[in-house]
């Protein structure tokens, strides 16, 4: 079972470059999330989606955009990368709707901005 797959696993960017992180889940989950993890900060929610075609801001949305054109995919975009966006990014998904289902996490993407 693939579960939640994040692509790529590692990436180094220069300041000002753009890129898109892909999250794909094969569990037919409605809800998907993007987090960033920084030392001493735990996981902080960037953006999330409660269904195909919908997105919403989380705790730290600035500098990021997302899209959920297909139910199984949730894309995280950095239009103009900044060193402050150096982090490990996690995607997660769940059935949602208070169904007592835990969030399933991907393995993370380590992103370094030089």
């Amino acid at each position: 079972n693939a579960g939640v797959t994040q692509t790529p696993k590692f990436r180094v960017l220069k300041t000002g470059q753009s890129m898109t992180l892909l999250c794909a889940q094969d569990m037919n989950h409605e809800y998907m999330y993007w987090y960033r993890q920084d030392p001493g900060m735990g996981l902080r929610l960037i953006h999330y989606s409660v269904g195909e075609g919908t997105t919403a801001k989380g705790e730290v949305p600035d500098g990021y955009n997302v899209s959920r054109l297909k139910k199984q995919n949730f894309l995280l975009g950095l239009e103009s990368a900044a060193p402050s966006q150096t982090s490990v990014y996690f995607c997660a998904s769940t059935n949602g709707g208070g169904l007592n289902q835990p969030q399933h996490f991907g393995d993370g993407t380590r992103l370094s901005i030089l």
Binding site: G42, L43, A56, G58, G98, P102, Q103
Partner: protein, 115 residues
Amino acid sequence: AQTVTQSQPEMSVQEAETVTLSCTYDTSESNYYLFWYKQPPSRQMILVIRQEAYKQQNATENRFSVNFQKAAKSFSLKISDSQLGDTAMYFCAFMKLFRDDKIIFGKGTRLHILP
């Protein structure tokens, strides 16, 4: 807004000992979930245990158990007979029921199990 506080940034215990990780949270909600996630060096996020706030009985999963004190807004994790494989970051987390299922994480406790 909900907050989750883990007051122990790092802990070390000997193998086979019992260790308790602390977590407190703040919310005005009456119905919610609480979780403990484990993140080993492999970086995976692994759900260890969860507790529904409306259940008074403390959740247990093999060697892992919680002490849930709703009035005190406390949710500690006890690991019995600790093993080397328990070495990891542990995150306490909160989720409101029947909303958007957003999870609020604490900053984590790094646990070292010593041989």
